[in-house]
């Protein structure tokens, strides 16, 4: 294993480097970047301590790494290592198996001293007035070690930039920061931007598939899953898209995020579409929040149009393009705009590719079949296709909900086919609508929900967008 990259020039890593590498983690033996001899020595010197990996209380168990308590996600293994039959956790097994006979380990040596940077921010952009107001509030919360603050910013408000003053403040105070986000795509997109903004600060990006990273930087960007390996580590925890799947659906993730914070930490939640639990807390005034109702370019959010089509589900099932959709595309104002077409299922994305290609070729929106493709979560070429769409090699992209958030394209129109499907809840529809009109050069963009009958989610999404525009004074 690599010693810490900023360790001293001698061969053996310094104590400080080791403590930066190991403190704040909660790991299985095999995850420790130490040979057996060093590991044993650290144990003897009480620099590392073991802790039970699965706790059993009153007939229920809890995995101490992922928090899993669900009976069906524990199983017995007749273990040939300890020669007894005992529990292991099936929930977090993709990160290495947690077995009852093997403890988790954590660092008990001295805590690292993170550098206090005099002037770490190398970002030269400017914030709008509204962004600045939110950014100042975030920085204030961090400086004052307030427990939590929710930043409710519409899609396209420029939330990353709004974090900069707070991050800068934390770095000046010598604190450790984590920005946790639900998707690896977002870590990959954010990493270069954060590195450019903090050129002299060590920044690391952690996501599944980047597994050999030390995870020892002062500023870490990570998928929420990666937090399962941390404990008592971060003074500032930014949780991006707090309302997004899987954070709100998988109890392991809040469990891990909670444990990864230090006791005097500040947590900043970012969301464009807070869920009920947070809205309730906001209304009861027990969750401090700051609202950013306007996009950075100052234009209103595109309000979706609801477009009914009576045989929609049957048409889609038979890979026929609904009449209403054909009409809309033919009448579309700006055909030069790229088009994102959201569908509720992978199979539909695949089935519609051919008829859509034929249709748009005939309509001359595209000039060759390879200007249109379909993408979904398990697509091995997913990253490449998204990049091609960004580079405008692709003009039309059919997608499942994977592109509902996080990724930004400057100038697109958005169509949702079968918007009444259950996968399109209010938050998803607001996020999807938020893909349009992102660029100051083309801030409008059309958003159309094609449906067979209005759902509450559609109506509420439209209402929520209107309300935000209203609150933004537009």
């Amino acid at each position: 294993m690599q010693p810490h990259p900023t360790s001293s020039t001698t061969d053996a890593p310094s104590n400080e480097a080791i403590s930066r590498l190991l403190s704040g983690k909660l790991l299985l033996r095999e995850e420790f970047p130490l040979d057996e001899k060093t590991f044993q020595r650290f144990l003897e010197q009480k620099l590392i301590a073991p802790t039970a990996s699965i706790l059993t209380k009153a007939f229920s168990h809890q995995c101490q790494r992922c928090g899993n308590k669900k009976k069906s996600l524990f199983a017995l293994i007749p273990c040939e290592i300890c020669l007894s039959t005992h529990l292991y956790c099936r929930k977090c097994i993709e990160m290495g198996r947690v077995m009852a006979c093997q403890p988790l380990y954590y660092w008990t040596g001295e805590k690292p001293v993170w550098p206090a940077h005099a002037d770490p921010c190398t970002w030269e952009g400017a914030l709008t007035h509204l962004q600045q107001r939110a950014a100042d509030r975030i920085a204030e919360a961090i400086a004052g070690q307030e427990k939590e603050l929710l930043c409710w910013a519409v899609c396209g408000a420029g939330k990353t930039e709004m974090l900069f003053p707070g991050i800068t403040k934390a770095l000046k105070l010598g604190r450790r920061i984590c920005i946790a986000t639900p998707r690896a795509d977002v870590v990959r997109e954010l990493l270069p931007r954060i590195r450019r903004a903090y050129q002299d600060v060590e920044v690391e990006g952690l996501y599944g598939g980047s597994e050999n990273k030390a995870g020892s930087a002062q500023l870490i960007l990570a998928t929420t899953h990666q937090l399962l390996r941390y404990q008592d580590a971060f003074d500032v925890m930014v949780i991006d898209e707090i309302d997004a799947f899987p954070y709100h659906a998988d109890p392991s993730l809040p469990f891990a995020a909670e444990r990864a914070k230090t006791s005097a930490s500040t947590t900043i939640y970012l969301t464009a579409t807070p869920r009920k639990n947070h809205r309730k807390r906001i209304n009861r005034r027990n969750l401090p929040h700051i609202f950013v109702p306007v996009r950075f370019h100052g234009h209103p959010l595109p309000v979706p149009k609801l477009n009914i089509s009576f045989s929609l589900k049957r048409d889609l099932k038979n890979a026929i393009l609904p009449q209403a959709f054909q009409k809309w595309t033919e009448a579309r104002e700006t055909k030069k705009r790229q088009l994102l077409i959201f569908v509720p299922a992978v199979s539909m994305a695949e089935n519609l590719q051919e008829p859509l290609t034929q249709f748009f070729l005939k309509e001359r929106t595209i000039s060759s079949p390879d200007q249109l493709t379909a993408v979904h979560a398990a697509d091995p070429d997913r990253e490449e296709k998204v990049q091609q769409f960004r580079d405008k090699q692709l003009h039309i992209l059919i997608t499942t909900t994977i592109l509902e958030r996080g990724v930004t394209f400057p100038s697109v129109d958005v169509a949702v086919l079968d918007a009444g499907h259950e996968v399109f809840d209010e938050a998803a529809l607001v996020q999807i609508a938020g893909r349009a009109g992102r660029s100051p050069d083309d801030p409008t963009g059309e958003v159309v929900f094609f449906h067979e009958g209005k759902t509450d989610a559609m109506v509420q999404a439209k209402e929520a967008i209107r309300k935000m525009n209203h609150r933004g004074g537009i």
């Binding site: 069906s72 293994i77 007749p78 273990c79 040939e80 198996r97």
Partner: protein
């Protein structure tokens, strides 16, 4: 009851068989069950290769080089499709022991379909000690426990089981990785998770045969 693979709840089927508890409890949901590909129809009578009921080219190749007794036949349960690859990765490499139960009922019925009537001993293909310490269990031993045969762990493995990029001929000529701890004088069914080239099984079979085993067969979960 949740599906062992996708964690979705499995709706209990109610029919006469379940009421009188004749049909075993499902461990996978119908959707995941469907993803697994049981070998049906024509297969090579020697190695279970799917497609034709004539002895396949691989098996003719072996017959010219090894006495038939080193491995009279291999019988496999599943084809190696994408889902099976994922399941094996999780079960064997991630070490999700419990997932092996998803194969149990199939192993039992496939063994019955095989019409194997001899009184034989099941011998699981072992892992090396190093690998066993890593994984915590031997997948072949788990499979053997599903069979209606007595199991004897008479083989040990000398060195790592990672097969190098050698050609098959080179591999057969290289040293036998197994040691036989005890001679068996009854027919033996070797048990392993996957039959790919048959080399590993033939190494084990050759040893057993040389020390007096009258006939060696193999029963494997997957025909790769």
């Amino acid at each position: 009851m949740e599906c062992l693979w996708c964690q979705e709840a499995i709706m209990p089927e109610v029919n006469w068989a379940t009421l009188v508890q004749l049909s075993p409890k499902r461990s996978l949901c119908p959707g995941c069950e469907e993803e697994m590909e049981r070998i049906h129809g024509k297969r090579c009578p020697r190695c279970s290769k799917v497609g034709s009921d004539a002895v396949c080219r691989d098996c003719s190749w072996w017959e010219e080089r090894m006495p038939k007794e080193t491995l009279a036949q291999n019988y496999s349960v599943f084809s190696y499709n994408a889902r099976m690859k994922e399941m094996i990765a999780k079960w064997k490499y991630r070490g999700d022991y419990h997932l092996g139960h998803a194969f149990k009922q199939h192993v039992k019925t496939a063994f019955a379909d095989w019409n194997f009537s001899e009184e034989a001993i099941a011998v699981p293909i072992p892992l090396s000690e190093e690998r066993l310490q890593e994984r915590g269990f031997n997948q072949a031993k788990m499979l053997a426990s599903f069979l209606p045969l007595e199991t004897e762990e008479v083989l040990t493995r000398l060195h790592g089981e990672k097969q190098s990029k050698k050609t098959r001929e080179e591999r057969i000529l290289t040293e036998n990785p197994f040691v036989l701890e005890k001679a068996l004088h009854k027919p033996v069914v070797l048990v392993d998770d996957i039959y790919t080239t048959g080399t590993t099984l033939r190494h084990a079979g050759a040893l057993l045969h040389a020390l007096g085993c009258p006939a060696v067969y193999a029963f494997t979960l997957i025909r790769g």
